[in-house]
């Protein structure tokens, strides 16, 4: 049974208002709460019992799979391994995410390790949202790791969002791209209170014609801290670009440590990092349109993290 609190977690992380149709696996407090298969997407337990294996048949088009994780039991800690095998020429959307409701004093932690093996010319949109709530004093901790292996001509679009309620997160993303593979990553993070978020990307552009674009936008409010690390290795004729754009407010602190390494004369890599407070003129523009300073701030941040 999924109760109201859990339903809210599902809504926040997966935009789900109940049990989804098609392929899905809902994990609740470490147990499978429900699973659905489709004709072309299969979900099995891993042999070691520490997660699931999702297999998408070659040529599967326009299907989606939901694999939300919800934790409502205070003190629950887990590490989960999920493997995705995406067949050649498939075109699918994977909606993952973790919601923690912690009403107790013990820490709750979910570490999700997702490995993707994306076949030739397949396309994947991977959406991952992290959310936490609950009135308890226990920490809500999530440490996601995503490992992406993109085959020839494969394309992965990865959109991750962590806007509210996660006290501590270390997010790691590792990618290996074969020829003509394309990876686009868009990350949105907002931290407040005493939260800490670290994000680290490591991308190997191994095949000719491969391309990667990482855009990280974040807001650090109050006493929160964030770190952005990115390593991009251009090992072939490739293009790579990382952007870290951060707004700091109050006592928020952000550091960006980018590294781009071109190991091939035809590798073209670029990095851009901008950290600073909201520009005064942006606030004034919205104030001349009738918003108060606080409303202007909210509007600018909402747009920035949209």
């Amino acid at each position: 049974m999924i109760d109201k609190i859990e339903l809210n977690l599902l809504k926040e992380i997966a935009d789900l208002h109940g049990i989804p149709t098609g392929a899905y696996n809902i994990r609740k407090n470490g147990q499978s709460e429900g699973r659905g298969q489709s004709a072309h997407i299969h979900i099995e337990n891993r042999e070691d019992g520490r997660g699931i294996v999702i297999t998408v048949d070659p040529g599967t088009k326009n299907e989606s799979v939901h694999i939300p994780v919800i934790i409502s039991k205070t003190g629950h800690e887990e590490t989960v391994y999920n493997d995705f095998y995406i067949g050649e020429d498939a075109d699918v959307t994977v909606i993952a995410g973790c919601g923690i409701h912690n009403s107790g004093a013990c820490g709750t932690r979910h570490d999700g390790i997702h490995s993707f093996y994306v076949g030739k010319n397949a396309r994947v949109v991977y959406v991952e949202k992290h959310y936490g709530d609950g009135e308890g004093t226990g920490e809500r901790v999530m440490n996601p790791k995503t490992v992406l292996h993109l085959g020839e001509g494969a394309k992965v679009e990865m959109n991750t969002t962590q806007i509210k309620g996660v006290d501590s997160t270390v997010r790691e993303t590792e990618a290996h791209l074969a020829a003509n593979a394309v990876l686009e990553i868009s990350e949105k993070i907002m931290t407040h209170g005493k939260q800490f978020a670290k994000t680290a990307f490591s991308v190997d552009l191994n095949g000719d014609g491969s391309a990667c674009h990482v855009v990280s936008r974040s807001v650090a409010k109050e006493d929160s801290r964030q770190e952005y690390h990115s390593i991009m290795n251009g090992n072939a004729r490739c293009t790579g670009r990382t952007e870290c754009d951060a707004i700091i407010m109050d006592n928020g602190k952000v550091s960006a440590v980018p590294r781009v390494s071109a190991n091939n004369v035809d590798a073209a890599l670029a990095h851009e990092a901008a950290i600073g407070r909201i520009a005064g003129e942006q606030l004034v523009k919205f104030m001349t349109l009738g918003l108060t300073e606080k409303e202007a701030e909210e509007q600018i941040i909402a747009g920035f993290l949209k």
Binding site: L289, G290, L291, F304
Partner: protein
């Protein structure tokens, strides 16, 4: 109707206090007023004082009988004053439609947003979802800036050098935008401008020079005094006389 009454304004510089406006008084009571004059004379400062971005050292600003000198930018905006920036502000993630919605105070339908954009010569389909960032040209940003002011439908609007920073081609069509606006206004519009074609559609012209009102009057009175002689030169001439 808006009046400046003996407004003084100074800034602190490394060399000490520098007076930008030394007692400026004039009233805007006709539909279309153009403020002109040499660079550095204090024109943009007047626009910022009207919108509340700057506060005068002394003097009063009166809007429809109410003393608004102490009101904040937000309060003045709510009182019905709009301000178009000389250099439009760029954002990250804020779209044209976000700006138009905030400006109009509600979520506009595509048809309504289209009306505002087409009156500045832009097609809504191409622009509503565009981010207001560096990917837009100077001319496009200017038009969007003007559209946000039009969307507010306030009885008073001040445009700070709408021609600044845009190329000649964009300028020609911008003039048409203001000719259009001229037809539609039901309040007072103030434009700070150097352009003869904008001065040509004015009802009244105020010449600001050296931090003071040099002269003011109807277009017929002032326009002939502006061209054919360099205005900076005429100021010097006045001093020599």
């Amino acid at each position: 109707m808006l009046s400046l009454e003996n407004v003084r304004f100074s800034v602190n510089t490394e060399a000490g206090k520098k007076e930008i406006l030394s007692g400026v008084s004039f009233t805007v009571d006709s539909p279309f007023t153009v403020i002109t004059g040499p660079n550095g004379g204090g024109k943009s400062t007047i626009a910022k004082l009207i919108s509340g971005i700057y506060t005068p050292d002394s003097g009063r600003i009166v809007f429809n009988g109410e003393d608004i000198t102490g009101l904040s930018v937000t309060q003045r905006a709510k009182a019905g004053i709009s301000y178009a920036f000389q250099t439009p502000v760029r954002f990250k993630g804020i779209t044209v439609s976000d700006l138009l919605n905030v400006a109009s105070g509600r979520t506009l339908s595509v048809v309504e947003a289209c009306d505002f954009l087409s009156s500045v010569g832009l097609c809504a389909r191409d622009y509503l979802d565009r981010e207001v960032n560096a990917s837009l040209s100077g001319g496009e940003l200017k038009r969007i800036e003007i559209a946000t002011v039009l969307a507010r439908k306030t009885p008073f609007a001040v445009f700070d050098e709408p021609e600044a920073g845009i190329d000649l081609w964009s300028f020609a069509s911008l003039i048409r935008v203001f000719e259009n606006v001229r037809e539609q206004i039901n309040g007072n519009i103030v434009i700070i401008s150097h352009q003869e074609r904008i001065l040509n559609i004015a009802d009244r012209i105020v010449v600001i020079s050296g931090g003071k009102v040099d002269r003011a009057g109807t277009k017929e009175e002032i326009l002939p005094t502006l061209f054919g002689q360099d205005s900076a030169c005429s100021v010097l001439k006045g001093k020599m006389d």
